[in-house]
């Protein structure tokens, strides 16, 4: 147990000053700007927004700078900041069919309505270090090919057509389960009501959407390796911008607030059917702030694994254990409890020390007397 301590103010102040100087690094190197972080370390910004559960690029960039690039620390800062703000309301659920697509791929259908666009992706790169990036010369960036139809603006009524979902294609034939219907009930909000178990799918999705990418990646991977095996296909991944709108009471209508970037993953999994349901494909779903494909895929794998009970599957693996997964996927909670161990535990440890000394003394006495040695748990 942690017991409050006092003293050390000067040392703490000096340590924080030293932290500030270390953060700045060599003063001969130009200081990094938030615009540079937001523009050039965009995926770090996306991760902080997703797991900080707070969509604000500038704020995430600031958190990354302050945390010296420690993303979990930055996520912690974002979460702390959000507690200082009032909540104006809840958005209309975003419509990912109306997404302005910047990437859209399917691993299940090569020719699907809307087609496949790769967008800005690491896929199909050779993962060879590009020494050209080691210099700051801008010559390595290729300008997009000039096109014959340079947008003039005036006439360019640019509209991305609604992009059908892969799941709808299968759904038309009844080959895949439908998404759970919207019955009008407000979903649980785990930032207002602490998680309780069983949590229900909306609460699970909220927890997974803000959960640690590494933890969910490992759990998702475990399902592929045979722990809660359910053979997934990536039906579709899309990334792009969607409009968010907020119903405003004093106006009596919803105000379009602007656009946010999202990554969505629709997994298609096998299901052999049950007494009441014919064999059909089932679904796992991932939706994440920013461009976070690995996270969206991991979320979809874990979402599907957690649905074992409703699908009548056997519980055999950690990824299916709702309490285990949801209680440990939040890296702010996790880092708080792990890292508190380094804070002063002097009083607690003194008690343990006394206990071990007493037990050793008793042990020595008993041994001398030839009595059987009682065992006792030292640390409680």
């Amino acid at each position: 147990m942690y017991v409050a301590v006092k003293g050390g103010e000067d040392a703490i102040r000096n340590a924080h000053d030293l932290l500030a100087r270390t953060r700045r690094g060599d003063p001969g190197v130009p200081e990094i700007g938030l615009d540079q972080i937001a523009e050039q370390l965009g995926l770090a910004v996306d991760r902080v927004m997703a797991e900080g559960s707070l969509y604000d690029r500038d704020l995430a960039a600031l958190a990354i700078k302050q945390a010296r690039g420690d993303l979990i620390e930055a996520i912690f800062l974002a979460r702390a900041f959000r507690t200082t703000l009032p909540r104006f309301g809840t958005s209309v659920p975003v419509d990912t069919t109306a997404m302005a697509i910047r990437r859209r791929i399917s691993a299940t259908f090569k020719d699907l309505p809307g087609g496949q666009v790769l967008g800005p992706t690491f896929d199909y790169t050779h993962r060879l270090l590009d020494q050209g990036l080691a210099t700051t010369a801008q010559t390595t960036v290729k300008k997009p090919a000039a096109s014959a139809s340079e947008p003039t603006g005036e006439e360019a009524a640019v509209a991305s057509p609604p992009m059908p979902r892969v799941t709808d294609l299968l759904g038309d034939e009844g080959l895949i389960e439908p998404a759970p219907a919207d019955d009008g009930t407000a979903p649980t909000d785990i930032t207002r009501t602490p998680l309780s178990f069983p949590a229900g799918r909306p609460a699970r999705l909220q927890a997974l959407a803000r959960g640690d990418e590494g933890f969910l990646l490992a759990l998702g991977y475990s399902t592929q390796r045979g722990y809660a095996r359910s053979h997934p296909f990536v039906g579709e991944i899309r990334f792009g911008t969607v409009e968010v709108s907020l119903p405003v009471e004093e106006l009596g209508f919803a105000v379009p607030l602007g656009d946010i970037t999202l990554t969505e993953c629709q997994n298609i999994n096998q299901f052999k059917g049950s007494a009441t349901t014919p064999p059909q494909f089932t679904r796992g779903y991932g939706l994440v702030f920013g461009q976070s494909e690995r996270k969206a895929m991991s979320m979809a794998l874990v979402d599907r694994a957690l649905r074992f009970a409703e699908l009548g599957e056997e519980k055999t693996a950690p990824a299916q254990d709702e309490e285990f997964v949801l209680s440990h996927c939040d890296n702010v909670q996790a880092t708080g409890f792990v890292e508190h161990l380094k804070l002063p535990h002097y009083v607690d440890f003194q008690a343990e020390l006394e206990l071990v000394r007493r037990m050793r003394a008793a042990h020595a006495t008993d041994e001398a007397a030839g009595a059987p040695v009682p065992t006792q748990e030292a640390a409680e």
Binding site: M49, Y55, P86, T97, A156, P187, R201, E243, V244, S245
Partner: protein
């Protein structure tokens, strides 16, 4: 996605291709147009809004009903993309409201922490509600529409350049 068309055309039904309007029950054309303008203002830079306001100098006296305030909106998604809603995470939002002497009350709610922008957007919303000024406000926002349309066109062009066709290879002897 902002098409470079004046908002008369935006009074098309909600969800029409090219101008996804927020779902509102029984939205009148007037409401739909105001939503479209608010969506446009919210995608502007502060400089663009200030340039638009400049055209209306001298302004009537502006009463700040609600000073710009930063808060959060919980963004919801839908399970499977089209199913029951769930809470995805929050976004920062700034809101403001102004009243023009002898005119309308303008309101703004926009993504991000931008007090000055929220105030400017509320002011333009108030000006737009005056039927006598509406055409002039639309005209003042034309450069903004043009920029957004050009940016969207550029993004779509860049994205289209990465369109792929995968071919399945035949395996075996045949």
């Amino acid at each position: 996605m902002i098409p470079d068309t004046p908002p008369e055309a935006a009074a098309t039904p909600a969800g029409a291709p090219g101008f996804p309007l927020p779902p509102t029950d029984g939205a009148t054309p007037e409401v739909a147009q105001r939503q479209a303008v608010m969506g446009l203002l919210n995608r502007a830079t502060l400089a663009e809004l200030q340039a638009a306001i400049e055209r209306f100098q001298p302004l009537p006296k502006v009463h700040v009903l609600r000073p710009p305030e930063v808060g959060l909106v919980m963004v919801q998604g839908r399970t499977g993309g089209d199913g029951a809603p769930f809470n995805l995470g929050e976004a920062t939002v700034t809101r403001a409201a102004v009243h023009l002497d002898g005119g309308a009350t303008g309101v703004s709610y926009l993504l991000g922490r931008a007090p000055e922008k929220a105030k400017a957007a509320a002011l333009l919303d108030a000006l737009w509600q005056d039927p006598a000024l509406r055409i002039a406000v639309e005209d003042a926002l034309r450069p903004l529409r043009r920029r957004l349309a050009a940016e969207a066109a550029r993004t779509q062009q860049d994205t289209d350049a990465t369109r792929v066709n995968f071919f399945t290879m035949t395996r075996g002897e045949d």
